[in-house]
Each structure stands twice: as C-alpha cells, then as structure tokens.
C-alpha cells in the first residue's frame, strides 16, 4: 500500500498569537513550529500502522512550504515516514496548496491520501477535499477510525447523535480526526534515521491562489467573570434570563 500524508507546519498549540504591525501576517518570531497535530497524531501514525500491518508499502509525506519547514518535515520522518516531499512554494490559500499536492500526486499511484481534519492555525479543513476533487477521488472528512481491506476503506466518524460507518472505494482521500490513532513519540533511532531519509524538494507548478487573508485581529479582551456565591447559585439562572438574555 502506497500512502501519501499531507503535513502542514503550524505554530505550537500553546504559542502566543500575535501579528505583524500591519496585522496582515502571523508573527512567528520566537515561536516554535510543529507538525500540525491532526496530520501527525492521526493521519501519519495511522498510515504507518497500516503499512506495518501489511508488512509492505510506503508512507510519503508532502508539504507545500519554503525551506524553513524542513525541520518540521524531518519530524515526520523521525516518526516513521519513509520519505518526504517539499513543494517549494509559500502557501497562500487552500486551493494553491491542494493544486500543488494534486499536481505531484496525480501520476504516482497512491492507494490512500491522508490529511488531518484541519490545521490548528487556519482551521479551514479544505485541502483534503480539494485534493480529492482535483484527483477525482472520493473524500470523507472527520474520520475517526480507518480499516483497509482489499480495495475498500471502512471509515467511522462521529455525527450528531451517533457514529456513521462508511465504506469508501480506494484510492481515496480522508480527513483524520481524533480516534484514528494514538500519538507516537519519535525515538532516538527514528531521529537519527530521519537525517538520512530522502527529502525531495520539487519545484512548484505555480498555481495561483483564489482567496486571500488580508487582515487578522485579536478578539476584544474579555471582561472579568461575575462570581455568584455558591449558596445563591439559583441567581445564575435569573441573571442568564434577565441580564444575559440567553434563556
């Protein structure tokens, strides 16, 4: 089984959120960047598990990003990916990223393309579905379990009121959510091996972005909490009705 895993570089989950003086870019100064957790913990680890269970196959990661993403990409290799691809372009929007990934993947014969359900910075959850459309493949978002047998993937996902079990014809693209796998910590052997694993840099095809984030802002500061004595807890209901007007 040949699996492609989409890897995105994002600010660490606990990083401060700040923007450049003109509020047009995220200010990454002093920030630690990581592999997007949904890409790493769920998509990549499940891909490795499937390869290990089959005893054959390969797991290749792909990232659209400039050279400074390579340390993050090596983390994916340290966890166990066989090789990595970096498309040499600065990501502008989801379509541009998806078009570059699809251009790379279209003639490589991947059985499965896995992405995290979204990135923790832009929270769009768009790239996997766009890659699927551009490659004319089925796509399922928010997949929390994945089994593969023959030419079919069996996928579970939480839906309001329960769990939906889907069957998807391979090849396909899936958006991985919590539950698909357990996080793996790279060991020293993996970290050493990652240094010598192939990291292919391929030129971008020059796909144009179709949408642009032109400005960021932080939400207004929250006021102080209004504390209600525990012995007068019922007053909370009164305040929610008369003051906050939400019940």
């Amino acid at each position: 089984m040949k699996i492609l895993v989409l890897i995105s570089q994002v600010p660490d989950t606990t990083a401060r959120i700040a923007f450049t003086a003109d509020n047009t870019q995220y200010d990454g100064n002093g920030v630690t960047f990581i592999v997007n957790p949904y890409d790493e913990w769920y998509a990549l680890v499940r891909a490795l598990e499937l390869k290990e269970a089959a005893g054959t196959g390969s797991v290749i990661t792909i990232t659209v990003g400039p050279a400074d993403t390579e340390a993050t990409i090596r983390k994916g290799l340290a966890i166990g990916a066989d090789e990595a691809v970096r498309v040499d372009a600065r990501p502008e929007d989801a379509y541009q990223v998806a078009a570059e990934v699809a251009a790379y993947a279209k003639d490589k014969g991947f059985d499965l393309v896995l992405a995290g359900k979204e990135t923790i910075d832009h929270n769009g959850g768009q790239v996997g579905a766009m890659v699927a459309e551009l490659l004319d493949l089925p796509y399922v978002p928010l997949a929390s379990k994945l089994e593969v047998s023959g030419g079919t993937a069996t996928v579970e996902r939480d839906v309001p009121g329960g769990v939906e079990v889907l069957e998807v014809a391979l090849p396909c693209v899936l958006g991985a959510a919590k539950g698909m796998a357990e996080q793996r910590i790279p060991n020293m052997r993996g970290i050493m091996a990652a240094r010598t694993k192939p990291l292919h840099v391929v030129p971008a095809t020059g796909q144009a972005a179709l949408a642009a984030t032109v400005r960021f802002e932080l939400p207004p500061a929250k006021g102080a909490v209004k504390l209600i004595p525990a012995e007068e807890a019922g007053k909370l209901i009164e305040l929610l009705h008369t003051e906050a007007k939400v019940i």
Binding site: G124, Q126, V140, L142, P160, V163, K178, A233
Partner: protein, 312 residues
C-alpha cells in the same frame, strides 16, 4: 446575481443550520436563492420562509458521497449562472464546499461567521483565538457558514420544489451502518449547551446535568477525558479535538478549562463555569462563575430553572 445554497436536510424536520444557511444566502448577494439538497426530506417548500425561491432536490441520492453532491451543486450552478454558492460548515458541507470550489476554480471562505464587511468575510482562526478577514479574487465564490452565525428570518412565501433529474454518477462512498446513540439536540447547532467534566466523578452522576439541560432546552456535552474514559459518548466531546461549538450559552461543570477545551468552546456568546477550584483557568474565560461543589450547586440551578419555566 443568483445564489445557490447547498444544505443537508436529512432528519425529521429541517435542520436549524439549513434554515440559517438559506437566510444567509438570501442576505448575501441580493438575487434569487436556489436551495439544493438531497434525500427524502419533506416540507422543503417551507425554506421559502427563509428566502429560497426554489428548492432542487436529488431524491435518489441517499448517502454522503461528496463527489455526487459536488456534481449536483455544480450542475445547478451552471444551470442558474450563480456566482455565489453557500454551504454549511458541517460534516456534509466540509465534504462538498471545498470540492465545489476546486471544481469551479472559485475562492472558498471556510467557516464564515457573518455577512462580509467591505467585501471581506470574517472567520475564526487559531482555534478561535484570532479572527481573519478573507477576500475572494475569483468571479465565483463559495462560502461555508459556521452554525449559529446568523439569526433565522422567516415570512417569505413557499418555495417551489423541483426534483433533480440529471445523472450524478455512482456513489463511491456508502453508509454501511449508523449507530445511533440517542436523540437530543445536535451539538453543532445547539443554542445552549450544558457540559460536564471529570469533576462529575463518574458517569452515574450525569443525571443532574441531563436534567438541567432538559430544563434549559440545551444539549449535553463533555470534556475530552470524560469521552476518553467512556463516561459519555464521543460525539458529545467538545473541544479542539472534538466538536467545536458556538452556542449562545455554554455551562461548564467540573471542567478546569484546558487550552484544548477552550479552543472548542471559546466562541460561545456567554460562558458559565462551575468549579470548586477557584484557580481553575476556565474562570478567566467565563462571563459568570460559581466557585462551589457541582453536587451542591446543580440542584439549586435545576430548581431555579424549573421555577423560571413555571413562571413563563
């Protein structure tokens, strides 16, 4: 300029998120709105009250195959010459909206939280810790709407309902099984949510949370450890790795407020926190708080809610 709105109408009644999306579509571009849906939903003409002049339904499509649904949306877009396509940012919309955008080479705004201002759509980024403003540069645009972002309007005349007769190809995604875990209000579109954490000590103690939720007409939810320990079903898990919600009211009981939990609920309009630890970080994000034991506080809240309901 005509607008298409793609909605998932499965279920016994039209989902609130679908009505919101039709309302939003009717306000977004100003022209006629054609709603597009699938399956066996009834009462589709009532979407006229939210602003749709026509509803096109593909009755033969039962499963959630994003490719079939994308073909459906694109066929209607082509037939109507629409330049704006609105979807809901739910599981179905997330499978369809980006696909439609890629197919039509249209800029996509994922998870808009309201109407554009000066041509810029606002959306939440960094798990709700910041907002981004997005401009679409293409002639056709796709906008997916976060649930609970616009008030539903009503009052228009009934929409005409037409069946889609085109060929959407074979489904490559099929539903094998649906394991229902009880009815209740779907979390993503709930206006009020009552949520419990490890402070509830065990699944046998959830009765008062469910009772308070009933009195407030709220959905029930839980924190990640509660779902991981199988005290509550996974679909109730709210937070960064679970369901992200933005209700009008979020009541968190026995939840300390880890950063990952906050990321999934910090878009709630009003947050109430009940925790016996006055240092719980959640109090910093809360509008109202009670420092106290959940097992003593909950009965008082239930009594007060019952009293309020009796007076109304």
């Amino acid at each position: 300029m005509s607008t298409i709105v793609f909605i998932d109408t499965r279920g016994e009644k039209l989902p609130k998120a679908a009505q919101e999306a039709v309302t939003y579509a009717s306000q977004l571009a100003g022209g006629p709105v054609t709603a597009v849906t699938f399956g066996d939903a009834q009462g589709l003409e009532t979407l006229g009250a939210n602003g749709a002049s026509k509803v096109i339904v593909a009755r033969n499509v039962k499963a959630v195959d994003g490719q079939q649904l994308t073909r459906l949306v694109c066929a209607v877009t082509e037939a109507t010459g629409a330049t704006t396509i609105v979807c809901v940012a739910d599981a179905t919309g997330k499978a369809v909206a980006p696909r439609v955008a890629a197919r039509l080479k249209a800029g996509h705004v994922a998870g808009a939280t309201g109407l554009p201002e000066g041509g810029r759509f606002r959306r939440n980024v960094f798990s709700g810790k910041a907002r981004a403003f997005v401009e679409v540069g293409s002639p056709v645009r796709v906008v997916s709407l976060s649930p609970n972002s616009v008030p539903i309007t009503s009052g228009g005349s009934p929409a005409t309902v037409e069946e889609f007769g085109g060929d959407l190809g074979a489904a490559r995604v099929t539903v094998k099984e649906l394991r229902k875990a009880g009815a209740g209000i779907p979390l993503p579109e709930a206006e009020r949510v009552v949520s419990g954490g490890r402070g509830m000590k065990g699944p046998e103690n959830w009765g008062p949370i469910e009772e308070l939720a009933r009195e407030l007409n709220a959905a029930t939810a839980c924190s990640r450890p509660v779902a991981d320990d199988h005290w509550r079903p996974h679909h109730e898990h709210v937070g960064q790795t679970g369901v992200a919600i933005r209700p009008n009211l979020y009541i968190a009981i026995g939840i300390s407020g880890a950063i990952q939990h906050l990321a999934g609920v910090n878009q709630s309009k009003v947050i109430c926190v009940i925790n016996k630890d006055p240092e719980a970080p959640f109090f910093k994000a809360a509008d109202y708080g009670i420092v106290g034991d959940a097992f003593e506080v909950l009965p008082k809240l239930i009594d007060a809610a019952k009293k309020l309901n009796a007076e109304r």
